[in-house]
Symmetry: none
Subunit: 145 residues, 4 copies
């Protein structure tokens, strides 16, 4: 890492019960972090993403992951129709052919949280969709590194 | 969660970029924490619960959603290297350019749960990745409709 | 290309949606053809040259780019069925919603040239696919840098 | 196919030298068309796409297919930087890990032809990109079916 310039940091101390501190160290190691501080910074960012979700209708980015059987009558047509109606919040969709029957489809989305939640609900409720999940992340603008 | 009896504690210091420290303070206040340390301790506990969720080692499909600043030195190289090492569980990756700095990258994955969890952990721990999430679904075979 | 000597000809009729017939006329005029028939004959020759290009049967990578109107009855189902049948040569498919009607779908492919050519032909021939193109590149292994 | 309503058609006759007519029939069969007329209609649309390209700076859709060795120093950073600069014409990028070294990356693009050609030229010229190709298609709006 060529970052030779000293970047400003805010330093503060955290107090944990010793068993929790040990668990943190083990988890940070298992997840591949170089030190506790980096692991904690990532947790804070993850928590910020969740916290921001509850603050109403912000702009978010995210993904909608669907598994379905494409042989279901009209399902493919229905999913595509729904996606075209909501195309303003869909960047694009990645379609993977898992086996003869099952598709994994992942939509990259961006827009107002309420519009995206509505789209995810409609897609997941479609008959023939076996499982679906909305994953919310941030557009990155409000997450400092 | 207040320590009213004097209990042993492990104290360590965390370094954050100043804007992130400010966001942490605001969130801690909004959530009603008395200080940063208590807020951080709760995040660590929540993260531990998630980390210890037993995924087993069955075959899963899913997605890994990442947001990062592609200007971070070598980050793009690192993420691509990691992905090539783990390419057996990655079907492909969808990359969206959110703005001048931020990328939304979504990997479609399939394989043993432990291998995929490990890959997700390494990608999310990479310095410069602001937020990441592993979304697990099924390959569809074990989900009747 | 004018038939000045009386030569034997095969005559057959072509049915086009009226707007497409008008576009053909305009293009034929702009390209300097005396009539539709001569313009069509030249297109057929050009297409034959492309069709007979020897791809061999080496392993290739590439993309199949399709534009279609997803409202065409059953088209989406048909395209997905075809893709699942040929899923061994399809890595994944990227679907972009261009407007209310039109889709841009790009398949990342890898495998034997003949299998990929056959898949591309079938997809492009599907009724409702407006335009399609197979782009062949290499898997990189035989291309030193 | 449920199209029970009679759609309007323009019918015209095409005259071909008999050997060319036979070749057309064989090619239409090999490509999976139900009849000559459908094969000819697709050729006309393909020719229209090419013809429109020569008419100056229209809005096009398309794909840019790249094969490169991601180990080349800084190549990944450079490609991502270039893509972010031109992000207005890039819908998203699909990245496939072909083997330990080689990547297949396909960009879905849409915008003015000149801007897209410039982007393709810059990406293909990047040191380490082994092969690249711009595939131009239409946004579908100007291609009647």
């Amino acid at each position: 890492m060529r970052n030779t310039i000293k970047e400003p940091v805010t330093r503060f101390s955290v107090s944990l019960p010793p068993p929790l501190a040990r668990e943190l160290d083990r988890m940070a190691r298992e997840k591949g972090y170089d030190n506790r501080s980096l692991a904690v910074a990532d947790m804070i960012r993850a928590q910020l993403v969740e916290h921001h979700q509850q603050l109403g209708d912000r702009e978010i980015a995210g993904s909608i992951t669907l598994v379905y059987d494409h042989h279901r009558h009209h399902l493919q047509d229905l999913l595509t129709d729904l996606q075209h109606e909501h195309r303003k919040v869909i960047i694009s969709a990645l379609h993977c052919h898992l086996d003869h029957d099952n598709c994994l489809e992942i939509l990259a989305v961006r827009g107002r949280a309420t519009a995206i939640k509505k789209l995810a609900d409609e897609l997941i409720a479609a008959k023939g969709v076996k499982h679906g999940k909305l994953t919310i992340t941030s557009t990155g603008k409000d997450l400092p590194i």
